[in-house]
Amino acid sequence: MSTTTQNPTGTQREQFSGQTGFILSAIGSAVGLGNIWRFPGVAYENGGGAFLIPYLVALMTAGIPILFLDYAIGHRFRGSAPTALRRLGGRWGRWTESLGWFQVGMSFVIGLYYTAIIGWALSYFVFSFDLRWGDDPAGFLVGEYLKVSNDVSVTGDIVASVAIPLAIVWIAAIVVLALGVSRGLERVNVVVMPLLALTFGAVVVRALFLDGAADGLNAFFTPDWGALSDPNVWIAAYGQIFFSLSIAFGIMITYASYRRRRANLTGPGLVVAFANSSFELLAGIGVFATLGFFAFQQGIPVAELEGISGISLSFITFPAILSQMPGGAVVGALFFGTLTLAGFTSLLSILQVTSAAVQEKFGLTPRSGAVAIGLVSAALSFALFSTTSGLYALDAADNWTNNIGVVGSAVIMSVLTVWVLRRGPELLYHLNTVSTVRLGGVWLALIGVVVPAVLGYMLVRAIVTVVTEGYEGYPAGFLVVMGWGALIAIGVITAVATALPWRHHKHDVEPWPPYAAVTTIKEN
């Protein structure tokens, strides 16, 4: 059963059917590829067991506070990122709307390549049944499967083996989004998330009984306390938390706007945040138990293993391990099935950001919005990421969009809310009035001082690094097109979408609960 209410554009505004559906959908968004292939490697390389301390500090001082900021903006101002931020901005609404479109632009770009990776995972799910990569997983990935070009340049040569699973993922995503929030997105998450927990749990349990698993866990949990004095370790912790929680690029603003007004925000938010971290810890245990087995098979220490995170871990190292593992085909199917499902639920949330924004600005129905955005995105996704240069393009676009775009968005949003618009106390009041877990003034200090300081440092460092050192040795011209080009494309989306007229642009929204300082937000 689901409930929909009418929104100010005159169309029926959708809602999650209840708290459980929202929580599972939000966890489905947060738990994605990064939980499985990024966290274990980051933790291991930044102090092992000692990484727990900066990780939890980052969770409490940045991750959860920004998550609550997203919730508060989306829930109070009842819209996708552009709509909600426009209303937050009051008479500066057109400027703050542009920040919303910037977030939509990032989601749009991320959706293009994220789909490609899910397509790979889907292919490997099939390949697992006969361990098709044989004894050369690296050669199979870049040669036989992706057919990666020798030159790092943009090519238009479509690879059929990549394009077919990509088409399946796009069709599935468009169908789910077209069904709407409660009947599509929520129902998929309600079914998939428990299934995801079961399948990944099975993979982890299997890994724990492999020879050498204890050595892997020793490597993962043994603390290097000296790492705590290294600022880079703390930055890595903030980065992991930040990128893992699906915050600051419109997802949680959009999701929170689909909750009814009388809905608890902070209580479910804590469950979502800890569930995300719980899955990361589980992934760390599973991945390093498996790596311990791999090191044992080769007769080397875990420390000498290569390819322990990212695409290399999932599509090269893990297949190599599966080839040596008893029951590798079954474990492989479970692992890549998990990867596909985790990625797909995150993808739905990424695409919903764009779909919702377009629906509201142009007065489209959920179905027409999903289909329109889905078809445009799918076409670009095929052109850029199902080609022989797809791997390079994906790598560059991901680095620029996340490390510069998303981090920059978080810094601007927090500074804008707290210091420029001075709406922090109102949002704090909102959270405390509708929620069971009450926040104090420390939340304002965290989003107003700690978040801009830490993420601002990360942003400057990321920009300086790519300007002075480039990225992964790729040619400068290629990085201009696929790295800076991704940000320029997001900027163009922002400018054009902000400039276009609203289909139903004259609508006032009465923020509830009423706040003494501001009761009605009138748009200009």
Binding site: Q6, P8, F221
Partner: protein
């Protein structure tokens, strides 16, 4: 596993998984706040239509 690694594993599990269990139990016991201000039933008073699709 070494005693140190086991200790860090237990500590991690207690804090992260324990945090999930504690926050879930708290939410089950207090799913909603006990008192809301007046209103807040829909987007706005003039748009108070509620449609149930099943």
């Amino acid at each position: 596993m070494t005693p140190t690694a086991i200790a860090l594993f237990v500590l991690s599990a207690m804090l992260v998984w324990g945090g999930l269990v504690a926050s879930t139990i708290y939410l089950i016991r207090r799913p909603e706040t006990s008192a809301y201000p007046a209103g807040g039933y829909d987007e706005s008073p003039e748009h108070s239509v509620v449609v149930r699709d099943t």
